[in-house]
């Protein structure tokens, strides 16, 4: 009954739009009567939504109903009187879950209804503390509001047994409970079940003794809670809340902005008191996340005013980084950049932009490197995550972005999730996918690990890491063999199919089965499920891209969509799950060496001219370095200066020793950062930047939605927004650039980026717009509806190839190590580890199959030594059958264990995205003592 959610959100958006019909309504509209006045009825709506749609939100009080939950019917205060005919027999019905009947007569506030509501609230209050004035949710408590509304004056009941002595639970870093305030509305239980899908909360005991429990009656800390906060937001009183008292409204100002922790792009409503952030909630009307977030978005904001924040520029003097003024730092940079540019040429300078920063900042960064420095040596961290997605989808479709929207999950019949662990990596979308799979709907998971989603999936293809191409080729083989291709779609919308098909049919299935380690019948089953669904959506993550055949894998995913005709309408498509919040935007803004803002090819003479004219500058007409090439260039003396905007490459790029060696060769390393990172420690100049909470701009989420980031607080003293820093330096370098201001920058961007043509800061609204945005301001939920960007979709066959790493090192290092993320932390943990999340998840672990653990006499929780051809590290073992024998998987949120000492410099053949996901290693019991460290 998803319609309920939609209805309520609209109801809230447009209250009081009473469109009363005249007494004798037209015959083809269905009507029902509220207090004997006719109003139009919509099919399938409840009495409550009917009343609220016409007469506003406040006429009928509710307690157990919530905008993002299914109707439940437990509080009964929404009761109304209903007669099926005029002057007919009146019956009391709960309006929140009773469908409205055409021609019925509804009396929402009859005398007996008012009396009933009063009686119910009176009963509820007999078991509720009467300390509203000191309660954290005073003035924002639904019970308080409803009680006032129904006009309770005194409670007639004598003293009796109650539950006011229930103990508070303060065990958890975030979640709290005080069940003396519980009114048994089940909203928390339903939020946990229906929104998050975690099933932590339940009602135990019967009747008057019923009470909320966490897992099997343990504290929040000991429970399976993933701290999403949905229950706290749903609870109408303060019975479940959080340490930030998010529902308290005393002296609070609210600002809406967008989460910075992943590409889902959840909207956040940030409460501040006196210019300091108090708490965060999720707006119910957010199209992306409708009242939901994960713990990173809702609770992990404490880093922003952490004592470790960088608050002054640092300049290296006599080998040491010492505090300096902004002017001193800029002087240093200006001098060095000018020197290097004139001594060696602009191509000896490079910049790496950041997917954490806003579109406007990324745009400025690439403009700085291109128009001011005069080189195309600009890349971004997308290189190490989704560059193969952009490239692969561009090759097949012409556009490197998600074809559809997350809302399409409501319309799809089948999901296929490849190399992604969305319940940890993209939690809000992950929760939706999990809800889908949990309901037994057709779902396919392709992953070497038995992820949470895999446990619910119809089919889990648990392949050997590095064999995506082989497995997808097998799927295509079975689709063709079973005759499940969408011939009409292939005929009218694609090219290259015949050759592709011939190659696929030549596949050696015996060999593919052997290398992937997946039973062919299972692959066949998955192929049939995907191909025979009316509408099937695919999702993929870094388990696809961070491979030597990453781009080819993306192209095959696109081929699967095309061969089955799953493109260009609701509920289908290829949908990359973007890692960082603004990966999409960074690429859109041109932070890559071969394409400028709007993906125009910098080597194409026409576009080259266009850019030169637009920037009023001389630009090179050849592509620049990709990130790995920058390191090689530095090692070969071909790169002298590198500018990093909010990147910790030393910790996050593969093969740490290689990266370190490269950076050590530089004459100038500038790092814009909010904290002192391993990379910043190596810099010549460190510039203190403001975090996303302190600046405005736009982020573009994984479904191409350009959303407004609004400054919640002023920049922490001593810091500047990254965009302002870049603008300052542009001016220093002699280019006239106005100060960082998203509105004016968006105006500029809309003139050069074709699909931003109609984007205007003031028109983005609360929920943003999905590009392409046409000049008239209308946006696009679904791409490629009529034709592909490149005309026809292009099928291209590629053979599976074993990763170089395994070919070279596999004999000596027989285990395959892959990497994964945990919900609680974000990448290197620079931010999340400075929040309460660190109390929830405290260290990295290596997953190891029980068989392998036995072979090496390793017990759960013991330290293991992991050795690759490049280095060795110690990490704690988690013995689990989530990985198959021979496969290991590790998290990488705690850089002190130095996971990237193990990884190789091998990268995707096409996009040069590093192969984090396949490392040949060996293991043994650790000999040394593990040193736990803290980030400095």
């Amino acid at each position: 009954m998803t319609h309920v959610k939609e209805k309520d959100i609209t109801a809230r958006k447009t209250p009081d739009t009473a469109n009363t019909l005249s007494g004798n309504a037209a015959t083809d509209v269905k009507v029902a009567y509220i207090d004997n006045k006719a109003y139009e009825v919509k099919d399938g709506e409840t009495i409550l939504s009917f009343i609220r749609r016409h007469l506003g939100h406040d006429l009928v009080p509710t307690l157990c109903d919530a905008p993002n939950l299914e109707p439940f019917g437990s509080c009964r205060v929404c009761s109304v009187d209903v007669a099926l005919t005029e002057n007919g027999n009146v019956k009391t019905q709960a309006s929140c879950h009773t469908p409205v009947m055409a021609n019925s007569y509804i009396y929402p506030s009859s005398e007996r209804i008012q009396k009933l509501r009063k009686n119910i609230i009176e009963l509820v209050l007999t078991d509720h503390p009467l300390d509203c004035l000191t309660c954290e949710v005073n003035n924002n408590c639904e019970l308080q509001t409803v009680a006032a509304k129904v006009g309770i004056r005194k409670v007639r009941y004598p003293e009796g047994k109650n539950h006011l002595d229930r103990k508070k639970d303060m065990s958890h870093p975030y979640m709290t409970s005080d069940f003396s305030k519980c009114i048994n509305c089940f909203r928390c239980v339903r939020a946990c079940d229906e929104v998050q899908g975690q099933f932590v909360l339940s009602m135990a005991g019967r009747g008057f003794e019923s009470h909320i429990i966490k897992s099997s009656e343990v504290s929040f800390k000991e429970s399976d809670c993933v701290s999403c906060g949905a229950c706290a937001q749903a609870c109408p009183t303060s019975a479940i809340s959080d340490v930030f008292e998010s529902k308290s409204v005393a002296n609070v100002e609210k600002t809406r902005t967008v989460c910075t922790y992943c590409g889902v792009g959840c909207n956040l409503e940030v409460a501040t008191i006196g210019g300091k952030i108090k708490s965060i909630q999720a707006p119910y009307d957010a199209e992306v996340n409708g009242g939901h977030t994960c713990l990173k978005g809702r609770y992990a904001f404490g880093f922003y005013n952490h004592q470790d924040r960088l608050k002054t520029p640092l300049v290296r003097k006599n080998g040491e980084l010492v505090p300096a003024t902004w002017n001193e730092a800029y002087d240093y940079i200006e001098k060095e950049l000018k020197r290097i540019k004139s001594d060696f040429g602009p191509d000896y300078i490079a910049g790496i932009s950041s997917a954490r920063c806003t579109n406007e900042e990324n745009y400025l960064m690439q403009k700085f490197i291109r128009a001011v420095i005069g080189t195309n040596n600009i890349d971004a961290c997308a290189r190490v995550c989704h560059s193969p997605t952009a490239l692969g989808m561009q090759r097949t479709f012409g556009t490197g972005a998600a074809t559809n929207s997350i809302i399409d999950l409501k319309y799809t019949d089948c999901i296929m999730v490849i190399g992604a662990n969305p319940t940890d990596g993209h939690p809000v979308t992950g929760a939706k996918l999990k809800q889908f799979a949990m309901k037994d709907k057709p779902s396919i998971v392709i992953d070497p690990r038995r992820t949470e989603l895999a446990k619910y999936a119809t089919v889990h293809l648990q392949l050997r890491p590095g064999t995506n191409v082989a497995l997808l080729n097998m799927m295509l083989y079975y689709i063709i063999k079973e005759g499940l291709e969408d011939k009409q779609f292939i005929e009218s919308r694609t090219e290259g199919y015949e050759d592709f098909k011939n190659e696929i049919l030549k596949l050696n299935i015996d060999e593919m089965e052997r290398v992937t380690g997946v039973n062919r019948e299972l692959v066949r089953k998955a192929a049939i499920i995907y191909a025979s669904a009316n509408n099937a959506m695919s999702f993929h993550g870094l388990g696809v891209t961070e491979h030597s055949q990453g781009t080819f894998t993306v192209m095959l995913i696109a081929d699967l969509a095309m061969i089955t005709g799953n493109i260009g309408r609701r509920g289908v498509g290829v949908n990359p799950l973007r890692g960082q919040n603004n990966v999409q935007g960074t690429a859109d803004m041109g932070c890559q060496p071969h394409q400028g803002a709007g993906y125009l090819d910098v080597t194409n003479p026409e576009y080259h001219k266009k850019y030169e004219a637009f920037y009023h500058a001389k630009l090179p007409n050849y592509a620049g370095y990709k990130i790995p090439q920058m390191y090689d260039a530095a090692l070969n003396g071909k790169l002298k200066a590198l500018w990093l905007m909010g990147e910790d490459n030393v910790q996050t790029d593969p093969n740490t020793n290689h990266v370190r060696a490269a950076l050590e060769q530089l004459d100038l390393l500038v790092v814009q950062e909010i904290f002192m990172t391993e990379t910043a420690k190596m810099a010549h100049v460190v510039l203190p930047a403001s975090s996303f909470l302190e600046k405005s701009g736009t982020f573009t989420n994984g479904e191409r939605r350009i959303q407004r980031v609004n400054a919640v607080v002023k920049p922490i003293e001593g810091t500047k927004p990254d965009g302002q820093i870049v603008a300052d330096i542009m001016n220093r370098m002699g280019y006239k650039q106005t100060d960082y201001d998203p509105k004016t920058l968006l105006e500029e961007i809309s003139q050069i980026v074709p699909f931003f043509a109609g984007v205007k800061w003031d028109e983005l609204g609360d929920n943003g717009k999905q590009w392409p945005v046409l000049p008239d301001g209308s946006d696009t939920e679904i791409l490629h509806t009529e034709t592909f960007k490149r005309g026809k979709g292009k099928f291209a066959y590629n053979d599976w190839r074993e990763s170089e790493e395994l070919v070279t090192n596999g004999r000596e290092f027989p285990y395959i190590l892959t990497t994964n993320r945990e919900l609680e932390h974000y990448n290197a943990g620079t931010m999340t580890r400075r929040t309460g999340n660190n109390e929830i998840l405290t260290e990295d672990v290596l997953m190891i199959n029980p068989e392998d653990a036995k072979t090496h006499a390793i017990k759960n929780g013991e330290m293991v030594c992991v050795i690759s051809a490049r280095g060795k590290i110690d990490v704690k073992a988690k013995v689990t059958d989530e990985v198959l024998p021979g496969i290991l998987s590790s998290t990488f949120h705690f850089p002190e264990i130095k996971m990237n000492d193990l990884t190789s410099s091998i990268a995707d053949s096409e996009a040069l995205c590093p192969e984090y996901k396949v490392v040949a290693v060996n293991i043994r019991k650790s000999k040394g003592k593990y040193k736990t460290g803290k980030t400095s």
């Binding site: 437990s74 009941y157 009602m203 019967r206 008057f208 019923s210």
Partner: protein
């Protein structure tokens, strides 16, 4: 002698076992239905019979069956409600423990009529010994080819499972039962959707009482018309009555519907009168939930007509002077009984059994108990009696499931017909200790105060 359709062979030795049951004509309805009728024809016979649900609400069974959604390819289920937990009702226990094959046979014939291939008997936990009896009967039925694949070579398949409940009254409410059967907490569901559309595992489902399903056997064997010929008006066929309380011969009786209440209480064929030669004071005619009636109103309607054991006659006069057939739990009380204390027991039961979802029922049942406790503790006031009245009025019809009203009705009727007894206790608290008799239930928790 009244006609017996269900308990006809009750006294035949060995009727619990398959062989005797079969000798007595058992499983004939399965043969007849599967071999000579199509499912719709069976439904038609049930419609014709006028059979009404014996679980309490008295809803016409044929009509319920015809509401069952029948989309192709979606499995359907028949679930037998054997949760029998209403105080005063024990007829299903009697039937299942003595003639288990009658229920198994009814399940097969009914499942065939509904197109169900997997059916369940959901039985209350306290009936663990009956579970063994039923499972033995089911095993025998499988062994003789009445269950399983390709029954009687007709191609019809049926598996029948017994699921044991945890001992909650609320799990007798059909949607709570389905939740429980799915392995969840037994909370009633909001309706719509009704089980006929979205029941067990969201599939179309019919829930019927044990006795209802057993009655399908004689209906199919003898035809719906023959069944409808028994009884009066819309109360057709026979009904099992669980008679308890201060009667000379309490027990389970099969009566033809329409039997005068007076005959049922006083005749030798049935209850044989009030024990110890005392006066009848009041009767709860259909299980603890239905309104209690004082002697003059249970023997005759307000209009002076003899009251009959039928759905219509028992309900004559509405709740002002009438009551309900309910599940047929007939509790008779003599003149030594305290209605207030009796009510207190009932109220404690409902408080204990409320699932706790709806605020009016969760808080209201607790408060009804607390206020009654106060009165019986000697601290009551007249205002408390009014508060009780107000409480029950705001529960009735205001909740997700009918347990709320089941809890409210006894309170309303006790005050309506016996208000003076409440007032007596309020004014003269010393009288409370003189109470000799009242309805007691074992295993209720400590009272709440």
């Amino acid at each position: 002698m009244g006609k017996k359709l269900l308990l006809e062979h009750d006294n035949v030795p060995g009727i619990q076992g398959y062989d005797v049951y079969r000798q007595m004509g058992g499983y004939a309805s399965v043969e007849k239905a599967l071999k000579t009728m199509n499912p719709n024809a069976v439904v038609e016979e049930v419609k014709k019979s006028g059979l009404r649900g014996r679980g309490g609400a008295g809803f016409p069974t044929g009509m319920k069956w015809s509401f069952l959604a029948k989309p192709d390819g979606v499995p359907r289920h028949l679930v037998c409600n054997a949760d029998e937990s209403e105080p005063g009702t024990f007829k299903d226990r009697y039937l299942m423990s003595r003639i288990p094959h009658l229920l198994v046979e009814g399940m097969i014939t009914s499942s065939f009529a509904l197109g169900a291939n997997t059916s369940y008997i959901y039985i209350r936990g306290e009936y663990y010994y009956i579970v063994r009896i039923l499972e033995k009967a089911i095993a025998e039925a499988y062994a003789h080819g009445w269950l399983g694949k390709n029954i009687l070579g007709t191609g019809y398949n049926l598996d029948l499972y017994v699921q044991v409940g945890g001992g909650a009254y609320i799990c007798g409410e059909e949607t709570a039962l389905l939740e429980s059967l799915e392995g969840k907490r037994g909370n009633p569901r909001i309706k719509p959707p009704f089980p006929a559309v979205k029941g067990l595992w969201e599939r179309p489902t019919v829930v019927n009482n044990v006795e209802t399903i057993a009655a399908v056997v004689p209906i199919v064997n003898n035809g719906g018309d023959a069944y409808a010929a028994i009884g009066v008006g819309k109360s057709t066929g026979t009904k099992l009555i669980s008679a308890s309380g201060h009667l000379n011969k309490p027990g389970v009786y099969e009566i033809e519907l329409g039997l005068p209440v007076e005959e049922f209480i006083y005749s030798e064929e049935y209850c044989g009168g009030i024990r110890n030669g005392r006066e009848l004071k009041a009767v709860v005619a259909g299980g603890s939930s239905v309104p209690i009636l004082p002697k003059h109103l249970i023997l005759n309607t307000a209009a002076g007509e003899p009251r009959l054991m039928s759905y219509e006659s028992l309900a004559d006069g509405g709740f002002v002077t009438g009551t309900m057939m309910g599940s047929g739990g007939f509790i008779a009380m003599d003149d030594t009984t305290s209605i207030v204390k009796n009510l207190y027991t009932f109220t404690r039961f409902y408080h204990h059994e409320s699932c706790g979802q709806c605020s009016p029922c969760r808080e209201g049942t607790a408060w009804m108990e607390k206020v009654l406790h106060k009165i019986l503790d000697g601290h009551g006031t007249l205002a408390d009696v009014d508060l009780l009245w107000d409480l029950q009025k705001n529960i009735e019809g205001k909740t997700i499931c009918p347990l709320g009203e089941a809890a409210a009705w006894p309170v309303a009727a006790a005050i309506r017909h016996f208000r003076t007894e409440f007032e007596e206790f309020v004014k003269n608290p010393t009288r409370i200790k003189d109470v000799k008799h009242y309805y007691r239930l074992n295993n209720l928790p400590e009272p709440v105060m």
